[in-house]
């Protein structure tokens, strides 16, 4: 079980969080033309890197804030967590 530092609440056990996938995906803007390829990339295609990965986590049993986590997918080491409006 991971130990995750919520940038709002501090160190908490993984049990309190929900995983939210790749934290670098950017939703295409509303009311803009998006090509089929770009849209498919956004909806379906995700990288599955071995090593460092920026991901989203949601503190569902806590402050209910989404935030970003820089985690190593091999070692599970968490290098950094950041609020959603901060750079990671």
């Amino acid at each position: 079980m991971l130990n995750i530092k919520c940038p709002h609440c501090g160190d908490r056990s993984q049990k309190e969080f929900a995983y939210g996938g790749d934290g670098t995906v950017k939703r295409p803007e509303l009311n803009k033309d998006v090509s089929d390829k770009d849209w498919d990339n956004f909806v379906y295609l995700r990288k599955s890197p071995r090593g460092k990965h920026i991901e989203l986590w949601h503190h569902i049993a806590g402050c209910r804030q989404w935030f970003r986590v820089l985690r190593d997918t091999v070692t599970h080491e968490i290098y950094k967590t950041s609020k959603i409006d901060e750079d990671i």
Binding site: L2, N3, A18, L30
Partner: protein, 998 residues
């Protein structure tokens, strides 16, 4: 039998408290403080079980977790459990143990014929034998193997014991209370760190209980007691005996298993039997010690063969002699301590040392005590079937590959020592890549990956002085980092004997013409010859050899066998052990009960139960419950002998004809506030939301980004910037997370806040032609006429002076209202409505009637919004705006979503107007076609239409829009039904939706 093998005065047991217990139905006496093993040995019992594969007689070999043989069926506190390690379980009054894997008895076991057929059971026997014919697998081989496999018998009764979980955080966790653990814990505690010290055994002290050492002029045991009593006084220290840390996971999460109940004579009702601790430690000190490994020789599994350290422990801790004529067979000095201990207790040991005579403190001491020592000697084989009677021994030649002379010597036990193996399981589990240490011929921890440090024998440090020095230091250093305090401790003076170096001799060669079975792994019956077969057959990777021969795969995880197995592979392959590598260490270190893992989360405590404020009223009115996620909802209210179908028909009919009331508290409710709320809803929902007037509700559909319908519900504009959203019961949590995702990540510029209010409001749906009459009486001051409160209208109300909300929305398709009130007043509101409604023939209705009503109306719900349907499929395309953008809109342009023959929702009636169509039935054209029969669609929801008095179903069918009027078959292989159906519109009742507007 009296305890003939008990030594006078020795040991840490309490001789004032005799304990009666049973073994194989015979009564024996032991003492408080005994293990089952020590008590049996005190009574001279050695034959305790039969081996797994060959059913060979087996006896005790170790004195703790190292024991591979002594697995027993144990009855304690009225429950029976298999595979209990007799060397670990403490003796309590009334304990009853029986041998396993033998029939009819351990003395005479039919299965022992396997021993004589052992040529037919080579390595990989199962793989080779049960391959063909294929059809034999289920009927012949599997039942046969199942019967032969396993050891004890699992109880079929419900476990009545209580198990608990506990979460703990600490600065430092110390695993093991030998000299290293005590020193590490002590210096860290002195630095003010919050320390947990865990000891697997009932007694603290580890090797200090048995080693002949002094620390500050105290015996090892006395020094350990002193440190423990000091630690007990410190508020920052938690001491836990009978507690084994068995697993090391990510981010320094360790799991500990505490035996809290089985050793108690009288356990109170709420004392758990076992407790599982999840401990997140900032730092972990691994002081798990080491385990003696045996030297392999012929028939080395005969009862009476022991590890030499175990023999010493039985004498020093339990006051028990494992034999009165022992041979000590060793390649190192440590076994001399066992010999000296025997001698002290007036037993004459014979030492066989594989090394040449040499100068060492211990050897000299043994010589001065006139102990008989034969150097360059080895045991070739143990003789005797159910107990060692003699040993064939031999003088080794120069290169130790053969014997110069061979003789037979009488003895009743053989204590073997092949040097020490650090217990590195936890270090390895933490991610530490182990390194092979040539000096001790074993793996030791290398670089730490997590915040752990191995100290003492588990780190390959075998001298007391060095162990204490390094453990005090590391304990102080790691705690100083956390507490920023340092209390230097003066190192104690130690006195211990110096060891000379061990001999790398690990297996006695076979003299010419002899075919003794030489076991490497006792528990799984893996002999040297089995591993040789595996290698001859081409298995090279140690992981493959392990699986093919099952070496080290038993519940003892190869604690006494892995290294010897590796040595053998290395010898045959002409490699060195580090090149062979080691197999993976996995938790748990020793077997733990399933009950401990489950804890209290079983039965109704498996997950929390959510109850609405009206729960007890439903209960009193014969509600039959159905689970809706964690919620309990009334499925129907049973009257007399009614069946589910009869009750739901009655309830639904009453709604259509009069008025009904349904508890809708479980619906998800989300409060939405902020100046950008309308814009936000406009992006979330597929339909338009910018122009919803205050005091009006609107039905909305939301999609996922991939275009699939996520949820539906109504949202009401309470005031200018305040909306009340409802979701389905099932999706409430997901929808909230979804909204938060978009507000926090995608559109942080929107000034909107969302919060769940599901539990703040109790809700009652009042539905049926008489519902307005009920509402009028409920709110006498309000004008709830069709003009003032039209369909999709909203009003504030006041009930007993409490704020209430009235929504004119309908799921049943009837004239209907939903009234919400603060949860605390939910029951009062409900009872009031029932009271008022009596004259209008009001009846409560459950989820089954609710479903009937919505299915008849063609309203979609969970079975239709199943994560595979787009708005078109469920005929909600009219709600999809073409003018604005929203979540998932771009996906709706996908080619597959726009095909002419795209699936669509339809209604179904059976041609016979009688047969109910099982949900999940497949729709096919030809009922007799060969499988796979092409499927045109599936039945999503079924009911008995109370309006038309015949079965009616909803289905999602390919090209649904052009299928109306066609006839198909609904087949359900599960229910074994084939029903001819006609496809009709999904709106079966009140096509125009007149009733909701009436």
């Amino acid at each position: 039998m009296s305890q003939n093998f008990r030594i006078k005065g020795e040991g840490l047991i309490n001789r004032d408290e005799p304990i009666e217990f049973k073994f194989n139905r015979k009564k024996y006496i032991g003492y408080k403080g005994d293990t089952l093993a020590s008590a049996l040995l005190a009574n001279g019992i050695h034959l305790i079980g039969r081996s797994f594969k060959y059913h060979r007689p087996r006896g005790f070999f170790g004195a703790g977790v190292d024991e591979p043989n002594a697995k027993m069926q144990v009855e304690i506190n009225g429950h029976s459990e298999p595979n209990i390690n007799a060397t670990e379980i403490e003796l309590v009054e009334g304990l009853s143990a029986t041998s396993q894997n033998c029939w009819p008895s351990v003395e005479f076991d039919i299965g022992a014929i396997n021993n004589f057929l052992n040529k037919f059971f080579p390595a990989g026997f199962y793989y080779k034998t049960f391959m063909w014919p294929k059809s034999f697998w289920y009927k012949v081989y599997e039942p046969f193997i199942r019967k032969a496999a396993g050891l004890g018998v699992a109880s079929l009764e419900k476990d009545k014991e209580r198990y608990e979980h506990k979460y703990e955080y600490c600065d430092l966790l110390v695993t093991g209370s030998g000299p290293a653990g005590l020193a590490g814990a002590y210096s860290a505690a002195k630095n003010g760190a919050k320390v947990i010290l865990a000891e697997d055994k009932p007694r603290f002290g580890g090797s200090l209980l048995t080693d002949e050492v002094t620390i500050d002029n105290l015996s090892g045991k006395a020094w350990a007691d002193k440190i423990i009593s000091e630690l007990k006084e410190m508020p920052n220290v938690v001491l836990k005996n009978r507690s084994q840390v068995f697993g090391y996971y990510d981010h320094n999460m360790t799991v500990m298993f505490e035996r809290t109940g089985d050793h108690l004579e009288k356990k109170s009702k709420y004392t758990p039997r076992q407790r599982l601790w999840y401990i997140r430690a900032k730092e972990v000190l691994l002081s798990t010690g080491s385990i003696e490994r045996p030297i392999v020789f012929g028939n080395n599994d005969t009862p009476g063969v022991f590890l030499s350290a175990a023999a010493k422990e039985y004498m020093k801790v339990y006051g028990v002699l494992i034999g009165k004529k022992p041979i000590i067979f060793t390649n190192n000095d440590s076994a001399y301590e066992t010999a000296i201990e025997f001698k002290k207790n007036a037993v004459e040991p014979l030492i066989l040392d594989t090394r040449e005579d040499q100068d060492s403190e211990l050897i000299n001491e043994a010589k001065s005590m006139n102990i008989n020592i034969k150097f360059s000697y080895a045991v070739i084989a143990a003789n005797g079937y159910k107990k060692v009677k003699s040993a064939t021994i031999g003088k080794l030649n120069k290169d130790k590959t053969n014997f110069e002379t061979i003789e037979t010597i009488d003895c009743d036990s053989i204590c073997v020592s092949g040097f020490w193996t650090p217990t590195v399981h936890l270090a390895s589990q933490s991610g530490n890549k182990l390194r092979f240490d040539d000096k001790i011929d074993a793996f030791v921890p290398d670089k730490s990956k997590q915040n752990e440090n191995s100290i003492g024998a588990s780190n390959g440090t075998f001298t007391l002085k060095e162990t204490l020095k390094s453990s005090f230091k590391i304990g102080s250093e790691v705690s100083k980092k956390i507490t920023k305090k340092e209390n230097l401790i003066q190192l104690p003076n130690t006195n211990e004997r110096k060891y000379s170096s061990h001999d790398k001799f690990w297996c006695s060669p076979l003299p010419k013409g002899k075919h003794y079975k030489r076991f490497v792994d006792f528990q799984n019956d893996v002999a040297v010859s089995d591993i040789e077969v595996a290698l001859r057959e081409g298995y090279r990777s140690i992981e493959h050899v392990k699986r093919y021969t099952t070496l080290g795969m038993a519940t003892d995880q190869g604690r006494t066998s892995n290294l010897n197995g590796l040595q053998l592979v290395a010898n045959v392959e002409k490699k060195i052990v580090p090149q062979v590598g080691h197999t993976t260490f996995r938790p748990p270190f020793t077997p733990i009960t399933i009950g401990t893992i489950v804890g209290r989360e079983i039965g109704k405590e498996y997950m929390p139960t959510r109850k609405t404020p009206m729960h007890n009223w439903h209960q009193e009115n014969n509600a039959v419950w159905v689970d809706a996620g964690a919620w309990k909802r009334p499925r129907y209210y049973k009257r007399g002998n009614e069946t589910l179908l009869e009750a739901s028909k009655r309830e639904a009919k009453n709604v259509r004809e009069h008025v009904g009331i349904c508890d809708v508290t479980t619906l998800g409710k989300i409060d939405i506030k902020g100046p950008d709320s309308a814009e936000f809803l406009n992006r979330i929902y597929t339909n338009a939301w910018l122009k919803l007037p205050i005091g009006k509700a609107r039905y909305g559909v939301m999609l996922r980004e991939d275009g699939i319908v996520m949820d539906d519900g109504t949202t009401t504009r309470i005031s200018e910037n305040h909306y009340h959203m409802t979701t389905t019961t099932a999706q409430a949590a997901n929808v909230l997370s979804h909204l938060e995702y978009y507000l926090q990540i995608v559109w942080p510029e929107l000034n909107v806040n969302v919060v769940s209010t599901t539990e703040q409001w109790a809700g009652a749906a009042i539905a049926g032609p008489k519902s307005r009459d009920v509402l009028t009486k409920l709110f006498p001051k309000l004008d709830v006429s069709n003009e003032k409160l039209p369909f999709m209208g909203y009003m504030k109300g006041d009930l007993f002076g409490v704020k209430a909300r009235i929504f004119r929305i309908s799921f049943s398709g009837e004239l209907a209202y939903e009234v919400n009130i603060k949860s605390d007043y939910g029951l009062s509101m409900w009872e009031k409505i029932i009271e008022i409604g009596e004259e209008f023939k009001i009846q409560p209705y459950g989820t089954e009637a609710l479903s009937t009503l919505r299915i008849e109306m063609g309203h979609v719900a969970g079975p239709e919004l199943d994560g595979r349907t787009i708005p078109y499929d469920v005929s909600l395309e009219g709600l999809v705006s073409k003018k604005k953008d929203f979540i998932g809109k771009r996906s709706l342009e996908k080619e597959a979503f726009n095909k002419e023959n795209r699936q669509k929702i339809v209604g179904l009636v059976p041609l016979d107007k009688k047969s109910s169509i099982p949900e999940g039935s497949h729709l096919v054209e030809d009922k007799n076609a060969k499988v796979p029969n092409p499927k045109l669609g599936h039945v999503s929801s079924s009911c008995w239409s109370v309006e038309k008095n015949n079965p009616f179903s909803l289905a999602i069918v390919k090209d649904g829009k052009n299928m109306i009027g066609k006839k198909l078959y609904a087949i359900s292989p599960l229910k074994n039904t084939v029903i001819e159906v006609e496809i009709i519109s999904s709106h079966y009742v009140d096509h125009e939706g007149k009733r909701v507007r009436s």
